[in-house]
Amino acid sequence: MSLTLTTIRGAVALVIGLIAGLGLFMGLSHEAQESEYAARLDRLAIIRSRMIADLVVRAGGFGEASRAAVARAATADPGVVSVRVVRLGGAVLEASTVAADSGDRAAPRRLERSEKWIYDLGQMLQAARATNRDEETTRKAEIVVVRDADSGGVLAVAAPIEVDGSVEGLALVQTADEPPPVATPLLPAAIVCCAAVLLFLLTSGIARNSRWGTALLAALALVAALGAAAWFTTRTISEARRQTTRAVVDLTARQATVARAALPEDERAYDLASWDVDSFGRPRGLVQTDGSATAAAVALGAVEARQWVLRRALAIAVAALSLLLGVALGLATRVTATLRKYRQAYTYAAPALIAMLVLVFIPFLYGIALSFTDANIYNSNEPIGDIWVGLRNFRDILTDLTVSRETPAGRVFNYQNFYWTLGFTIVWTVTNVAIGVTVGLALALALNTAGLRFRPIYRVLLITPWAVPNYITALIWRGMFHKQFGVVNQVLLMIGGDSISWFEHPLTSFTAIVSTNGWLSFPFMMVISLGALQSIPGELYEAARVDGASRWQQFTSITLPSLKPALVPAVIVSVIWTFNMFNIPYLVSAGEPAHATEILITQAYKVAFEQYRYGYAAAYSTIIFVILLAYGTWQNRVSRAVEAV
């Protein structure tokens, strides 16, 4: 064993990789344990509150019998601090084991002002139940856990009391459980760390001082250490889950005993599966009706824990390994040297570059990553790996070819289809640019006439549409196309036509948005063309006239070629602008009717912010980006060619 420079660098790299990797694993394990404990406390508290709710219903609803039963149950369970039962109709505190609620404050009585929050909670549960039932979804929590901000433990759980399928009241249970302390395995981590370094130093002779060989050995040692850490973390998390399972099964059984003792005259068996539920009231499937644990659910929990760790372990390994290789192969040294050498340049460039990196490029890459997930409003906090769906979004978007189908009532278009929107966007872009160029060029030619009076005034007035902020333009035109009071329909009525509901048919809707966009885009082309026209030497025309060229010949062989260098780039940018012109379709037609006049980016926006399907919308946006990139590459070649001419 000889300590050469290469070996030392390898060892340093290994230590850095170990610190980063094991540190991340410890953080991971800590976070996982914390959330597991929190989830466990919630779950136990929910079981207790569901039992109380069951008890009240069994004892014949609100009244003396249920009050006595609740009091008996609360005293029998040392884990319960207090129980309150509230009836929403009349805002009555039906039962309470809170110490202060005795004497003249004893239940039953009306809720006091200071207890309004309990009533509000009940209203919320009632509304949540109604919403979920109407929408047939599980969007709003039907059982609410109020957490203690200081200890992180459960403060209280509110479970609805349902009579004949409607929420009549709630059971508010305060529990005494505290989360167990989270273990941080410092000693095992240190041992693994030392073992890995030792392993590396012992084997470093094999590499014979080659930089790559040493790096490979260090990487292997790191992988071994991370493997050990992954195994250890899996064990910790699985153990925490096992404890949860045991605690849940035990508590349900105990609660069943408590319930039977509290209401001895009722001999019907309790449905214990209905106590261990999630916040939407759905059974979690661990406890069976008779209180025994489902073996499959226990096994699944262990498998889930393993997968959960594995996915994160891969990400950690990639990070730690790249760090190690960066140091071991001397990349880090080289980067530092470069940074130092060009220190001044980087100091100046850094602020903007870092801002761009953090708020433009990283979000962009994150957006691309999202396109491979089924991220939506509920799960966007979860790591990418957990909601990964591969290419499914892209397949859904690109392989759906049914733009229209025959039905007995006639042809029905699916305007949400990607290819309809793509086709529409292309037609929209081409039409608008064509209108812009034609009108702009015609006006420029007219304005360029020698000795035309009022020219400067005309020019300023004609630029107005460009100067007005385009969202204002859009809203103005939406008003002008109003069916009843809009100016456009007034004109139609005046000349003897009928008024049109502009946004009820795809074609009229298209006309409306194209008119709006045409209005705001022709001044740009006019200004560009005017500038280019003024730089054409008049001698060219004179010479052509001497040669007997007609006006049309002059136009096609002198004017157009001279305009080309200015017009081509202008057309290129205005294609991109029109393609990305969000405000006009969004504000004028709003995609009506039935998303027929949606362009690609407004469609992507609506998928994201009206349907909340972030993953799908991200895939949609990625496709748009690819289209733009292809166009950009192509335009680059075209404009090079124009420049060369």
Partner: protein, 294 residues
């Protein structure tokens, strides 16, 4: 200006007619907004139609001149409605965006213009490519990161961060182009006189680039002032709306308050329209130059 164009010997009268038609088209919507603003009512129509309108009556509805003039829309939009607050939000956001964006862009553009360093070309290309990301494409990840993770929804700070960074590439390219035209000899002379690199930048380059910085700043301000969709997505609370979101709020939903909208639109537009008329020649050269260089 030469006097021998292709249209040189055409009769002027039809040209005037043609141009005038387009002038009417260009100006009409603006006049219409002005007359709705001064009509004093919330209705879309400028005059009310009698029960059996004649062609003349109908023609009258088209003339952008309200039946009676009134300031009431302007008065109530700034007093009864939270419009002043929205204007203030817009002003704060746009000003902060300009300060942050232009400051960051100045130093960065200077580095790209004066120094050759590894990553320079990649950086410049990255700036250009980022201009190709449509705003809505960035919206989803930005929304998740800023609003759902960092809780910066309905905050001016979040909007400023987004506007400033998305505006940086444009600012950097504009300023770099101008820095390139400042002769290096000036800086070298200063260095010989013993100026530190920082002094060269702050005392020589920045003062020389004042006009370009001013133009860039005005553009950045205008972009922030006119931006609609990011603000509409990020600002949920009514008290945090910017002016564009607020104006849209007036005419969406069940009660369409066109009078307030028109009055507000005029207040919001006057500064930017004036700025635009002043700046348009820079805009044209900047945009097309960028496109050709690709």
């Amino acid at each position: 200006m030469n006097r021998r164009q292709i249209t040189g010997d055409l009769p002027h009268f039809p040209l005037h007619v043609f141009v005038l038609i387009w002038v009417v088209i260009a100006v009409y919507p603006v006049l219409w907004v002005v007359s709705v603003a001064f009509s004093g009512s919330q209705s879309l129509s400028i005059v009310d139609l009698p029960p059996n309108p004649t062609v003349l009556d109908r023609l009258r509805t088209l003339v952008p001149l309200p039946a009676h003039l009134s300031w009431s829309n302007f008065a109530s939009v700034v007093t009864d409605q939270p419009f002043l607050l929205w204007l203030l939000n817009s002003a704060i956001v746009s000003t902060a965006t300009t300060l942050v964006g232009v400051t960051l862009a100045c130093t960065s553009a200077y580095a790209f213009s004066r120094f050759r360093f590894p990553g320079r070309n990649t950086g410049l290309m990255a700036f250009l490519v980022s201009q190709m990301f449509p705003g809505t494409l960035m919206l989803i990840p930005l929304y998740i990161v800023l609003v759902m993770w960092l809780g910066l929804g309905s905050s001016r700070l979040g909007l400023v961060l987004v506007y400033a960074t998305t505006g940086i590439p444009f600012c950097v390219w504009m300023l770099k182009g101008y820095f390139d035209t400042i002769p290096r000899e000036l800086e070298e002379a200063a260095v010989i006189d013993g100026a530190s690199p920082a002094a060269v930048f702050f005392r020589i380059v920045l003062p020389l680039a004042k006009p370009a910085i001013a133009v860039t700043a005005l553009f950045t301000f205008m972009t922030g002032w006119n931006e609609f969709i990011l603000a509409a997505t990020f600002m949920d609370k009514e008290s945090m709306y910017t002016a564009p979101v607020g104006l849209r709020f007036f005419v969406s939903g069940y009660s369409e308050q066109w009078g307030y909208f028109a009055a507000g639109a005029i207040i919001v537009s006057i500064p930017v329209v004036a700025l635009f008329m002043f700046l348009q020649k820079y805009l044209v050269s900047g945009l097309t130059a960028g496109a050709v260089k690709g």
